[in-house]
């Protein structure tokens, strides 16, 4: 009988932080630095058959280290009776590096595009490459010059010059996780009018635009519409995943804006205060990304095709994949009245 002993994962965490307040409290904020080391990851590892009954088993192996910094600043820039403006900014940056995967597995591919199968040969190729000593989130792809075609099929470049085009020519073409993220809240007050603008932003991350990889070609699968972004080239007739489907997805977004007006209440018989307001969510996005949503995908729930379903848990080792199952984000407007009694 074969037995494996399985234990829990181990996590060690070191945090250092400063809370500061300057200029009589006009300027305040926090600075946090953290280091987190996770080891004994529970991984579903391939094992030899025979003697094992099944080709995979759960075992403790692998680990990664995350280093990060978070800086928050809150500044009462203007604060008078008739007008006030308080901006607050949060900046975050972190990186996770793979320390170890399985024994004898210094690198491996992870995740695939889904059906119908293109030029990815699962399990020997994938959208991500995990490498010991390298950051999590390395998106990999074959390199196409954007021009050379063979019967409508992109011809990839022999990057390493060994005379043949194969998996060894694939390169890391981006990272699914951002270099840093920011959010900025602006609170204004002009007498009885209050205005709030909330921006969020992420920089440095790339995204596999899966819809383009499948449908930005002349012969779309079944009656699906062809996707035509600025990258569309009608000479391409065979879907073939390559680096042109991996886009920079930096964005700045006006995530939320609200404006309110405090009504003067003549009588306090029925209510003490009244405020009418209008607010909107997801109002403006500034990005060069051609997909529906440049938001960072921190994990991947896999492809939904051939009757398959999304995985219950997102795979954190495969960030930055914009799946075909992504639905349009909604823009929401709200109008209302706040009554105080």
């Amino acid at each position: 009988m074969l037995t494996q002993t399985l234990s829990g994962e181990t996590k060690g965490e070191l945090n250092a932080g400063i809370d500061y307040s300057l200029m009589n409290g006009k300027l305040s904020g926090t600075l946090d630095v953290f280091n987190r080391k996770t080891s004994d990851l529970i991984l579903f590892a391939p094992v030899a058959v025979p003697p094992n009954l099944a080709p995979n088993t759960w075992l403790n192996s692998g680990g990664f280290t995350t280093n990060g910094v978070e800086f928050a600043i809150n500044y009462a820039l203007i604060n008078t009776e008739s007008f006030s403006y308080t901006p607050s900014l949060i900046l975050t940056s972190y990186q996770t590096v793979l320390d170890k995967y399985l024994d004898n597995t210094p690198r491996l591919f992870r995740t695939n595009l889904g059906a119908p199968g293109q030029n990815l040969d699962v399990p020997n190729q994938g959208l991500h490459i995990l490498e010991v000593g390298k950051p999590i989130g390395q998106i990999t792809a074959p390199i196409w010059d954007g021009k050379t075609l063979d019967n409508g099929k992109p011809v990839f470049s022999d990057q390493n010059g060994d005379g043949k085009v194969d998996i060894s020519d694939w390169e890391v073409v981006g990272n699914g996780l951002p270099t840093f993220e920011a959010s900025l809240n602006n609170a204004f007050k002009f007498g009885k009018i209050d205005l709030n603008l909330f921006f969020d932003a992420a920089f440095g991350h790339s995204m596999v635009h899966e819809n383009r990889a499948f449908y930005e070609i002349k012969p779309a699968v079944l009656a699906a519409n062809i996707i035509k972004t600025k990258y569309f080239d009608e000479k391409v007739t065979t879907a073939s995943y390559n680096q042109t489907h991996v886009e920079k997805a930096d964005f700045v977004r006006l995530n939320n804006a609200s404006i309110g007006y405090m009504l003067s209440t003549g009588s306090k018989k029925y209510f003490k205060s009244a405020r009418v307001y209008a607010s909107g969510q997801n109002l403006l996005t500034f990005t060069g990304y051609t997909g529906v949503d440049p938001t960072v995908r921190t994990g991947d729930k896999g492809s939904v095709d051939s009757g398959g379903r999304e995985a219950e848990f997102a795979d954190p080792l495969a960030p930055g994949i914009d799946r075909r199952s992504t639905y349009y984000t909604t823009r929401t407007f709200t109008v209302g009245v706040n009554l105080g009694f």
Binding site: M1, P50, P51, P116, N119, P123, A223, T237, S306
Partner: protein, 513 residues
């Protein structure tokens, strides 16, 4: 209030006292190997795990795909956006086999998954104090030999593991193909002889004496390849054990063997009892048909437009061959020509704007047996499709037809071939082949040649996952056909999966990989 508090404390105290008792329950109804195997039904239910492993055979990416796509009777053309799959099926068809290819790992894990399960159950049954256990152990050993027969046929040199109780770090070493042959033969002879000679609903889809003999006939017919020496007399004897039993016969209607409800076939000797609800995994209509063919058969799922047959194979049939026409069934072993929905309108490809050269009828779905190219832009409706097994109208993605692994027709051909290989002019060999031809409604052969024999076997046995072995035996495996170039003799053996060699240093890769 104060009283209530003391009451609570008292109650909590009482609870902590009761929790001192050992609460480990003693179940009276737990099945263990000591009390479970009291009757045959219990053994049969335990046996199930070793058989359900067979449901991996006829899906996509396993044994069926390996044996068919590498042969001259099937391919998966790369149709523009569909079915490139990293080129693995193109390489499989062109015999550019690579050890890293997923299909070899799948077949390896299928076979050893079955073997390990048999070993596990044999170990369990051996510990049971019941006189009937011996018969079930024999059955498991024959089933284990069946899995080894596939390993012998496909990989040749593989580890031989016959025990379940091995240390966790045990790394079995590669044994020679001759040693595996010897083991399979010994098991089939000694254990097969212990099996039931009953052929009824109890032994259906299970190992019995005749299945063991069928396996022996395959083993001996291929002995020249497997161990380097022919065993034609032994092959004939194994075939005769089946033929002379009187338990099987040729169905007058060839397609009765492949019908949705084919469990009554007098011809089928060993099958995988697929069921669309309870035993899924048989996906042929999904794997082969064009998306739009969903409307021809009212399937609840849309097919994937993958597998086709080759023009040369299509052309090997005479137009009157019932296996091509389908007789009363309406379609034969291949689906070809214009396709219609159930109200008679021609099916239309939903794709927008792209048709490869040679597709003269535009968007209409017309399975033209001539495929313009294997890759990259094979026509989406090019190639005749695999329709040997009856498609259930209104069916799901899973089929309920039982997949045939051995049938009487094959045994007749095995015997004919052994006789013919002993003596090219043997009239008995020709007559056996002519039994098959008569049923197909085609004229009888005056004599047998290697070419007409292989072609007849192809027409009769197509899409039963045997073609790879047949081509090797007839020395046609390395030949060029359609888009497949000449391939070297080392390609007769598949590569040992690279993933296994990484995990077990005692495995030896086959030559040339």
């Amino acid at each position: 209030m104060k009283n209530l508090k003391s009451l609570l404390i008292l109650a909590l105290g009482a609870m902590s006292i009761t929790s001192c008792y050992d609460l480990t329950p003693e179940f009276k109804d737990v099945a263990t190997s000591d009390n479970y195997f009291e009757n045959d039904a219990a053994f049969v239910s335990a046996l199930g795990a070793a058989y359900t492993n067979l449901y991996n055979v006829a899906g996509h990416g396993g044994l069926f795909s390996l044996n068919e796509v590498s042969s001259d009777e099937a391919a998966i053309p790369h149709k523009g956006p569909d079915w490139e799959d990293g080129g693995q099926w193109l390489r499989t068809h062109r015999h550019e086999f690579q050890a890293t290819e997923g299909v070899y790992g799948n077949v390896w894990n299928f076979a050893y998954g079955g073997i390990n399960t048999c070993n596990r159950l044999i170990a369990t049954f051996e510990g049971v104090d019941n006189p009937n256990s011996a018969a079930f152990i024999a059955e498991l050993k024959v089933l284990r030999a069946y899995y080894y027969l596939h390993l012998l046929d496909i990989f040749g040199n593989v580890p031989l593991i016959t025990s379940f109780d091995v240390p966790a770090d045990f790394k079995p070493a590669t044994e020679t193909r001759a040693k595996i042959y010897e083991f399979v033969e010994k098991e089939l002879l000694t254990e097969g002889a212990k099996l039931s000679k009953e052929v009824n609903s109890t032994t259906y889809a299970r190992m019995n004496f005749y299945v063991a003999q069928s396996m022996l006939s395959q083993l001996y017919l291929n002995a020249q390849e497997y161990k380097g020496a022919p065993e034609y007399d032994k092959c004939i004897a194994a075939c005769d054990a089946v033929i002379n039993s009187g338990k099987f016969s040729l169905e007058s209607n060839y397609f009765a063997n492949f019908a949705v409800n084919n469990s009554g076939s007098k011809e089928n000797i060993f099958v995988i009892p697929y069921d669309k609800v309870n035993a899924g995994g048989f996906f042929i209509p999904m794997m082969t048909l064009h998306y739009a063919s969903q409307e021809t058969f009212n399937f609840t799922a849309q097919p994937w437009n993958g597998y086709t047959t080759l023009a040369d194979f299509y052309n090997s049939f005479e137009n009157t061959d019932l296996r091509k026409t389908g007789g009363g069934r309406g379609y034969g072993v291949m689906l070809y020509g214009p396709q219609y929905n159930r109200s008679g309108a021609q099916l239309v490809d939903g794709a927008d704007s792209w048709y490869p050269d040679g597709d003269t009828d535009g968007r209409n779905v017309n399975y033209n047996p001539v495929i313009n190219a294997l890759a990259p832009n094979a026509g989406r409706d090019a190639g005749a499709r695999l329709s040997k097994y009856e498609y259930e109208v209104g069916g799901t993605n899973n089929m309920s037809n039982d997949f045939v692994l051995y049938r009487y027709g094959e045994i007749l051909l095995n015997k004919a071939e052994a006789l013919w290989r002993k003596n090219n002019g043997d009239a008995a060999a020709r007559d056996l082949v002519n039994m098959i031809r008569k049923r197909a409604g085609v004229s009888e052969f005056a004599s047998l040649t290697a070419d007409n024999f292989l072609a007849e076997r192809g027409r009769e046995m197509c899409f039963e996952a045997k073609r790879r072995t047949d081509l090797i035996r007839f020395n046609k495996w390395g030949d060029a056909w359609w888009e497949k170039p000449v391939s070297g003799p080392n390609k007769k053996l598949a590569p040992i999966p690279a993933s296994q060699i990484t995990l077990n240093a005692n495995l030896k890769q086959n030559p040339g990989y």
